[in-house]
């Protein structure tokens, strides 16, 4: 693992290396070089199994974090590649040509986060949702509770009390 990281650092501009466990490492690389790093890992370093691709919404920093996790089945180590992309008009290079299933992940990200992957097959098809016309639901600024209350008629007649507040009203309303 150590040598691998050294080789990667020598070739790529990777940063924020966190080795969580003996067999798992997280690292960050800029958007431009992500796909070439992944290709390198797949072809040269034998990370032949693509585990997952997902996004994290860092709305405070106006960033989306994309995480690609790859697995090397020969030595059984995982490597996770983080890359940050802007939240304004988010777009990322597609990696569908490397593994077949990546297109599905990208399709899901397009639908649930609104991140575009130009050139990825079927990326604009709806995947999970049907007839969705709000902002992509996995974004942090989408409030699912508010949406539910406005849309799905929760059964009325429920009312709860905060014990401290209730005791104040009962026992010392003026103090």
């Amino acid at each position: 693992m150590k040598e691998l990281l050294q080789r990667l650092e020598y070739r790529f501009d990777v940063s924020d290396i966190v080795q969580k466990r003996e067999n798992q490492t997280f690292l960050t690389i800029d958007k431009k070089h992500t796909i070439s790093l992944i290709t390198h890992l797949r072809d040269i370093e034998n990370f032949s199994h693509f585990v997952l691709l997902t996004a994290v919404d860092w709305i405070e920093d106006n960033l989306f974090q994309l995480t690609y996790i790859l697995h090397n089945p020969e030595v059984n180590i995982d490597i996770a590649i983080r890359t940050m992309i802007s939240r304004d008009n988010p777009e990322m290079d597609s990696a569908h040509h490397l593994w077949e299933q990546v297109a599905t992940y990208q399709r899901e990200l397009k639908e649930m986060f609104g991140i575009n992957f130009p050139g990825s097959p079927g990326v604009n098809d709806s995947f999970i949702l049907e007839g969705w016309d709000d902002i992509p639901p996995y974004r942090r600024d989408f409030d699912t509770k508010k949406y539910t209350e406005e849309t799905y008629f929760p059964r009325p007649g429920r009312q709860t009390n905060d014990p401290a507040e209730y005791m104040k009203n009962k026992l010392y309303p003026n103090g």
Binding site: V51, T54, W99, E100, F127, L129, R140
Partner: protein, 397 residues
């Protein structure tokens, strides 16, 4: 079992459409040569609530598209607004077939970020519960492969045995399907009295069942005819399509996370993953049957080796305001379908920042199934789906 001969049946390509540049067939529906049919979601031969959009020419499929989202509940969104302990009851709902795997990987992910050491007794109990969970799924799925082609008898026996396992789950965890047993930090109870004996009784019945099922299903001319040589996954697909678990083992890849990255106490158990190379429906069914035997053996080993008593839960902070240190982790386990993992990101608050589930069906049911169905016969669709062991809730979550 005799070595199975693959029947090399090749369809007549001339009546099929051309394959376009994107690898998909170019189908002109207006030509009236094709019919589009929907296989599911309301269909007896579909695994769970999903659907396949099939374009058929006669009874042969020329194009297939998987549609999911019928079970989408937005877990990953819901968990972002629940505290860490509040996510605990909800994670098991992600996979109704094997509820303990999401429970375990969620707990393991939280413990990994919070640096909590789980007591040894809890680790044994977790392993036991995971193997029991695998056993009950396999008891449903192994005969289910026969069920897809009309051999329902094995299912009747298997589901009965599965129910006996569920009774044990009820004794141990308090629930039949949703156990909510593996809590971050440990587990929620010790084995009840006499549990091991009752377990052994049921395992004996399972042993007997394996023999009965083999003669009913695996040594069955009709079953063989319907499964051997159908739905072959070529070796080079395994990495290219992200195939894991029994499906990869049936293609000759010895991949089993329990062996490769041992977690819990799997390092102390003795077993060897079974592999075969035929990679057709029959081979995958055989791998599952061998998995079932392995699981029975593993449960026996666990029962024999596990300590009698001990701490069941590590000390955790007050769960009502438990803050997990900032960080991210990916934790995986080998479910009966293959790699099942959680990617958990914490921003240091009381709520998870992001949780992402990686289920094996994500690739099996979409990329692989869509490809395998092309040129398949319409009557084999269910058999193919079950042989890949697709489970829609883990795709859309």
């Amino acid at each position: 079992m005799a070595k199975n001969k693959i029947i090399n049946w090749k369809p007549d390509r001339s009546k099929f459409p051309d394959i376009g540049q994107d690898g998909k067939p170019v189908v002109d529906l207006a030509s009236q040569k094709y019919v589009k049919i929907w296989h599911g979601p309301n269909h007896p031969g579909v695994t769970g609530n999903m659907s396949l959009e099939l374009t058929v020419n006669g009874d042969e499929i020329v194009d297939a598209k998987t549609h999911v989202g019928y079970l989408h509940r937005g877990f990953e969104k819901l968990m972002e607004r629940r505290k860490y302990i509040q996510c605990f009851p909800i994670v098991c709902r992600m996979c109704v077939a094997e509820t303990d795997f999401p429970e375990y990987i969620y707990a393991a992910a939280v413990e990994d970020l919070a640096n909590i050491e789980v007591p040894e007794m809890a680790q044994w109990l977790r392993t036991l519960v995971l193997e029991m969970s695998r056993l009950q799924t396999l008891l449903r799925v192994v005969p289910g492969q026969g069920g897809t082609i009309g051999l329902g008898l094995g299912v009747q026996w298997g589901v009965y045995l599965r129910d006996l396992i569920l009774d044990l789950f009820e004794e141990l965890t308090g629930g039949r399907i949703y156990h909510m047993y593996i809590i971050p930090g440990g587990v929620r109870g010790l084995l009840p009295d006499g549990f091991k004996n009752r377990m052994e009784e049921i395992l004996k019945k399972v042993d007997d069942y394996v023999i009965r099922l083999t003669s009913l299903m695996y040594d069955n001319a009709v079953y063989k005819k319907r499964t051997i040589g159908i739905g072959v996954i070529p070796t080079d697909w395994v990495d290219k399509y992200g195939i894991v678990g029994p499906n990869a083992r049936a293609a000759g890849f010895k991949r089993d996370i329990r062996k490769d990255n041992p977690y819990l106490i799997y390092g102390q158990l003795d077993y060897e993953p079974f592999t075969t190379t035929e990679s057709d429906i029959f081979a995958r069914a055989v791998v599952r049957l061998e998995d079932l035997k392995t699981t029975v053996d593993l449960i026996r080993q666990i029962i024999a080796k596990m300590p009698l008593n001990g701490d069941i839960k590590a000390k955790t902070p007050n769960v009502l305001h438990w803050k997990i240190p900032k960080g991210e982790t990916y934790v995986k386990s080998e479910s009966s379908r293959g790699e099942f993992g959680f990617y958990l990101v914490s921003d240091g608050s009381e709520y998870p920042r992001r949780i992402n589930l990686r289920g094996p069906s994500y690739t099996h049911a979409i990329t692989v199934l869509e490809k395998l169905l092309i040129n398949a016969n319409i009557s084999d669709v269910s058999a193919l789906m079950v042989s890949l062991q697709t489970c829609p809730p883990e795709i859309e979550r």
